[in-house]
């Protein structure tokens, strides 16, 4: 199948190096300490953060740092065919773990000893790149909850189809079976905290694809930063002196 037309356009009309439109909104869940909705094209994810709060299971308490937990789920209506997914299948357990590890790396857990932070992410619409969207939403929600972090984590995917590196794959491109690279970075520290790949890719091309994904991450980071700053300013001026 042809994923990039001779004119250099992808199936949804984007250029190979083009991202889908991103949109973020802070404060979607009223009762949560922090929450956010993040959209990448048709992928839509909601995240809620509770905590730092008292550890629910006392045996999991850590004396000198916070316990971070994460739960990923997909809404039944998120995919094209509506099917009931049982909780805790392999895929969602794996993604929960990935998100937890990524967020744990940037949260300054030592500042909140003997407490726990719960991150809940749910996919409302799935159109490829849910993993990336979940990480971005979780970052926003954590920042909204006022949890100290070393840096914002942002994530983006890239692939390689029809001998062209493609940024931010959608569902059709994702399910083509080609290589799919998911990268998560800390933009300020200039470090990679997440790197996952499906299928195989020659080493010299991997470098290109990874660079492309990193560029995508940086673009997301800029956008997230803008949204957060706007939100902070609004809260401050509303509060007054």
């Amino acid at each position: 199948m042809e994923y990039v037309s001779p004119e250099g356009l992808r199936l949804d009309g984007r250029r190979p190096m083009e991202m889908r439109q991103i949109r973020a909104e802070i404060g979607a869940v009223a009762k949560a300490d922090g929450s956010a909705v993040f959209e990448m094209g048709n992928t839509k994810v909601i995240a809620a953060v509770y905590g730092p709060r008292e550890v629910q299971n006392k045996s999991q308490l850590i004396g000198d740092q916070a316990l971070v937990r994460c739960e990923y789920s997909m809404a039944n209506f998120s995919t094209g065919d509506r099917r009931r997914k049982q909780k805790g299948d392999r895929r969602s357990t794996e993604i929960s773990l990935v998100i937890r590890q990524t967020m744990e790396a940037c949260i300054m857990t030592h500042l909140m000893p003997r407490s726990q932070i719960d991150i809940y992410v749910q996919v409302l619409q799935a159109d490829g790149g849910t993993r990336c969207a979940c990480i971005n939403a979780a970052t926003l929600a954590l920042a909204d909850a006022g949890i100290p972090m070393r840096d914002l984590v942002t994530s983006c995917s890239a692939g390689y189809l029809n001998s062209t590196p493609l940024l931010d794959l959608n569902y059709v491109e994702d399910s083509a079976g080609g290589p799919d690279v998911t990268v998560g970075i800390l933009p300020k520290l200039d470090k990679v905290t997440l790197f996952q790949m499906d299928s195989k890719l020659p080493i010299d091309i991997l470098d290109n694809v990874m660079q492309l994904a990193i560029e995508g991450c940086k673009a997301v980071a800029n956008y997230i930063r803008e949204i957060l700053l706007e939100n902070t300013k609004e809260l401050e001026y509303r509060r007054g002196v």
Binding site: R53, R114, A143, N231
Partner: protein, 327 residues
């Protein structure tokens, strides 16, 4: 817009927008670039030496923020005041909390902190008012003082053994009854000299807990008479028969008057509106909002509607601009 989920008509939208813009223009001159987000570098003068406070970290010789908030500078100290975050206790803060567990010689309270706070039996006055050692009998009778889900007012004593300790060694602290507990964001409540307020004209007590828990209840005279207090305690738990042998007439007498109950609800709704709009919550502003609702003759239930919300925003903009002119 965060938190505001009201159906606004076109004119209301425009009016609200205008009021908020006015608020923005009023504050923007004071601190335009003080807001930072995570990993923004904060410009500091290194020659004078820098003390890094909360919400900051060092990265490659630069001071960077670790939370979203406003940069504050006190002499050499640089810190970031986080806006939306959980309550950070300071010794001497007056807090309102909810009992979640009665444990050995202590109550565990939810006060919107990273952990549950602990109120020891030994760090509160006994109902009989006598200073003595707490016996095993006192320990057994702990549920008669506070039970699970009771709302309690106390003071932050400090950190001990990895836990936050509270104390309630005065008549003004203790169980709160006949009123409403409201949870607002802690950054909206400012630390002040006075957190206990009595609105005389309404007969309402108001406690602005530093942790963002606000209590609005019937006014209770601070009394030393233990007998009266005990009678009071028993009839507040009307729903639990067997514990009290108070006759119906007596209960009726001890009931909160309808008028007071209405004022409690009115004050509570005023605070709800202010917290959804994200305005700071002080006695003065609460009073003004309640008065506003009375002057425009709104019912209590209408106070949570969109029209009143817009009105409050407009009034707040007016108030702040007039305050500014005075200075």
């Amino acid at each position: 817009m965060r938190g505001l989920q009201l159906p606004l008509s076109q004119t209301q939208k425009v009016r609200l927008q205008k009021a908020l813009e006015r608020l923005e223009s009023l504050s923007s001159k004071v601190n335009s670039d003080a807001s930072v987000t995570i990993a923004d570098s904060i410009s500091v003068n290194y020659e004078d030496g820098v003390l890094k406070g909360h919400g900051t970290a060092e990265l490659n010789g630069e001071v960077v923020a670790t939370v979203c908030g406003v940069v504050e500078r006190v002499n050499k100290l640089v810190y970031v005041r986080a806006l939306r975050s959980r309550y950070k206790p300071e010794v001497g803060d007056i807090v309102v909390g909810r009992v979640i567990e009665v444990a050995q010689k202590r109550w565990r309270l939810d006060i919107n902190f990273n952990q549950d706070a602990v109120l020891m039996l030994s760090s509160m006055n006994l109902p009989d008012g006598i200073q003595r050692r707490r016996t095993a009998l006192d320990e057994l009778n702990m549920r008669s003082v506070f039970e699970e889900n009771d709302v309690v007012c106390a003071e932050v004593r400090g950190f001990q053994h990895d836990g936050l300790q509270l104390q309630a060694r005065s008549q003004k602290y203790g169980k709160l009854k006949r009123g409403q507990l409201l949870r607002v964001a802690p950054y909206l409540v400012k630390r002040q000299k006075q957190h206990f307020h009595h609105l005389e004209q309404y007969g309402v007590d108001l406690i602005l807990g530093c942790n963002g828990f606000v209590w609005v209840g019937e006014h209770i005279e601070a009394k030393d008479d233990m007998i009266e207090e005990q009678a009071d305690q028993s009839d507040s738990q009307v729903s639990r028969p067997g514990k009290n042998a108070v006759s119906l007439e007596e209960q009726e007498q001890n009931c909160t008057a309808l008028e007071t109950r209405k004022y409690i609800c009115r004050t509570a709704n005023a605070i709800r509106v202010l917290s959804t709009l994200g305005f700071s919550i002080t006695l003065e502003i609460i009073k003004e909002t309640v008065n506003l609702s009375l002057t425009v003759n709104l019912d209590i239930n209408e106070m949570l509607g969109s029209e009143f919300c817009v009105l409050v925003a407009e009034r707040e903009a007016e108030r702040r601009s007039s305050n500014k002119k005075k200075r």
